[in-house]
């Protein structure tokens, strides 16, 4: 089935019915996912600056409300609206699969994420053309495929090829029939700009490099220890739990956190388990490229290039991969 691109706004109107529809667009000069305002979404050009993870895993999520005083009460906060995420690309779709693995599939189910995820419909779109720092193909992805999305709009040209990958997607597609026609759509031509030397062996090689202080000092020295890479990363899912009270009422919330921050590993007694930037950035790289693989059987990097775009010190994970591969081959 295929869909004429000029009919896109009609489809968006369908998707927005009784639901919050998120599409890529500009918010004060920053491209990010925002509520659809009737305008044509910005599907072309570079990917959004901020990933769509906020929609499923909010920057700040209230977990429960409490009351203290003579009695103490705790009540869970359930906030999972019906949502549609439209226009995410292969890399970001895969990042949601990574988060699914963390929050839903492995061990305990995280109720907050799982509820939001269950109420979300994801419509992914073929990548229209990679940015200067993209390398999703090296991470095993195809810019013109998103098997994890409920619905995928593929290919280039005047039409999108339309496929439903899930039951939820199929149900949704039934509403689209009047806009769908038969026919083929050529394969999208977008390809990544970068091709770092990613290999199945890298994970093990990196773990082997753990004690190579000189190597880590060299790759981490320019790092400024800010949280930019973590916050623009579509897969960074670490969070902090905190409370905020006014008088004897309050809420406990969780919020994004970054393993680059000095207070991330600060213990109550004053001990810090990763006091130096070398240790912290090493942990981040290894989490992305080695540790996550051991637990979940995939990398925690999708090759979207956002951290490369935004790193104040111009650190570059693709360059890091090459460098590690080179050192390993010695």
């Amino acid at each position: 089935m295929r869909l004429k691109k000029e009919d896109l706004n009609k489809i968006l109107a369908l998707l927005a019915k009784n639901r919050e529809l998120f599409v890529p667009g500009q918010v004060r000069g920053i491209k990010q996912f925002k509520l659809w305002d009737g305008e044509t979404p910005e599907l072309d050009g570079e990917n959004t600056v901020l990933p769509p993870k906020d929609i499923l895993f909010p920057k700040t999520e209230k977990m429960y409300a409490y009351k203290t005083g003579t009695e103490t009460e705790i009540s869970e906060i359930v906030d999972a609206p019906e949502r549609v995420i439209f226009g995410i690309r292969a890399c970001d779709m895969h990042s949601i699969e990574c988060m699914d693995s963390v929050f839903i599939r492995e061990g305990y189910e995280d109720s907050f994420y799982a509820r939001r995820r269950a109420k979300s419909l994801i419509v992914a779109v073929a990548c229209p053309g990679a940015g200067v720092n993209c390398f999703c193909e090296s991470m095993g992805l195809d810019p013109d495929a998103a098997p994890g999305a409920d619905i995928f709009l593929s290919g280039g040209g005047e039409f999108y090829g339309v496929t439903a990958n899930t039951e939820k997607g199929e149900t949704e597609l039934k509403k689209w029939t009047q806009y769908l026609t038969d026919g083929d759509v050529p394969k999208g031509e977008a390809h990544c700009s970068l091709a770092p030397a990613m290999s199945p062996e890298l994970s093990e090689k990196l773990t082997g490099l753990f004690d190579d202080d000189e190597f880590w000092q060299e790759v981490t020295e320019p790092c400024l220890q800010c949280g930019t890479c973590s916050f623009v990363c579509p897969t960074c899912y670490c969070f902090d739990i905190n409370q905020s009270s006014v008088g004897d009422e309050g809420v406990a919330f969780r919020c994004w956190d970054s393993c680059m921050f000095s207070d991330y590993n600060q213990n109550a007694g004053g001990h810090n388990t990763r006091p130096t930037k070398k240790q912290r950035l090493r942990n981040r790289y290894l989490h992305k490229l080695a540790y996550f693989n051991e637990r979940h059987g995939m990398e925690l990097c999708v090759g979207c290039g956002r951290c490369i775009n935004k790193c104040p010190a111009h650190l570059d994970i693709a360059e890091f991969i090459d460098k590690a591969a080179e050192v390993c081959h010695d």
Partner: protein
């Protein structure tokens, strides 16, 4: 520029070969075109990795704070703004002059908007100057953008900052890159004190933005690094700029990082200071 770069190679190599310095902080090419990153050269044979061109945008000075007790001297490539940063840190007692060897680099401006409003294109302090001094410029108004904003109404300004701080993701890049942000432990990291809430919302972000501006505003050396690194493109310099402008108006000509023993405007007083409080 290539003259300066070759002089830099020669000097860096010599300093390392003679064991005068432990390492040299400068810039090297990063992957891709038109991109450099801070470099830390420890071996004489790596001296050629150093580059100097208009893509050398990163401030080098902040890295002195990453190594407060170096084993040997640190040589540092420093443009005008970097030397102001070094002066700032010297004034604040954060680094020791005898630990630093400054390779001064005259700079006509790199690929950064802020360089158009740079009043100090030549290093203010150095152990040696590489190349010929650059031509200084004065054909600009330091506070042009601040003034534009002052022309707005209060309500417009409130809305503008509301929008901007809604965008802010509090990654703390502005703090971490700032040479005036040199507290050993930032108030925002002191999680037990609770001054900075961990929530991401416009109010917490505003509290952070304004607190940071106030912490550094009277010590800001106007290098513009905070704006360059902001992933959300917040006009952070407007805040510190407004504060500097006010210091200029209230306390006389005021510019930071020009010498190594400055007292910040709010760290001193004058009996005849302006007083509208009554």
């Amino acid at each position: 520029m290539s003259d300066i770069q070759s002089a830099l190679h020669k000097r860096a190599r010599a300093l390392l070969e003679n064991g005068d310095v432990e390492y040299v902080i400068g810039w090297e090419n990063a992957r891709g075109e038109n991109k450099t990153r801070p470099a830390f050269i420890r071996r004489a044979e790596d001296a050629e990795r150093l580059v100097w061109n208009r893509w050398c945008v990163n401030s080098t000075a902040k890295y002195l704070l990453h190594d407060r007790w170096p084993k040997g001297k640190i040589a540092i490539c420093a443009r005008g703004c970097d030397t102001r940063a070094i002066n700032r840190m010297l004034s604040d007692g954060q680094v020791k002059r005898e630990n630093i060897y400054i390779l001064g680099i005259p700079c006509a401006g790199v690929e950064n908007q802020i360089c158009r409003r740079c009043a100090h294109r030549n290093p203010l302090v150095y152990d040696e100057l590489l190349g010929e001094p650059a031509e200084e410029k004065t054909d600009f108004d330091r506070f042009e953008k601040v003034k534009e904003m002052q022309a707005m109404t209060l309500e417009q300004r409130r809305q503008m900052w509301e929008d901007e701080f809604t965008k802010c993701i509090r990654c703390y890049a502005c703090r971490n890159v700032c040479p005036a942000c040199n507290c050993r432990e930032c108030y925002a990291d002191q999680y037990r004190t609770g001054w900075q809430g961990k929530q991401f919302n416009a109010v917490e972000n505003r509290v952070y933005g304004l607190t940071r501006a106030y912490h550094v505003g009277d010590r800001c050396i106007e290098c513009g690094e905070c704006e360059r690194v902001c992933p959300m493109d917040l006009p952070i310099m407007l805040q510190t700029g407004r504060m500097l402008m006010e210091c200029n108006e209230l306390f006389g000509q005021y510019e930071c990082g020009l010498s190594d023993d400055e007292t910040p405007a709010l760290g001193t007083y004058n009996l005849n200071d302006a007083d509208s409080f009554g």
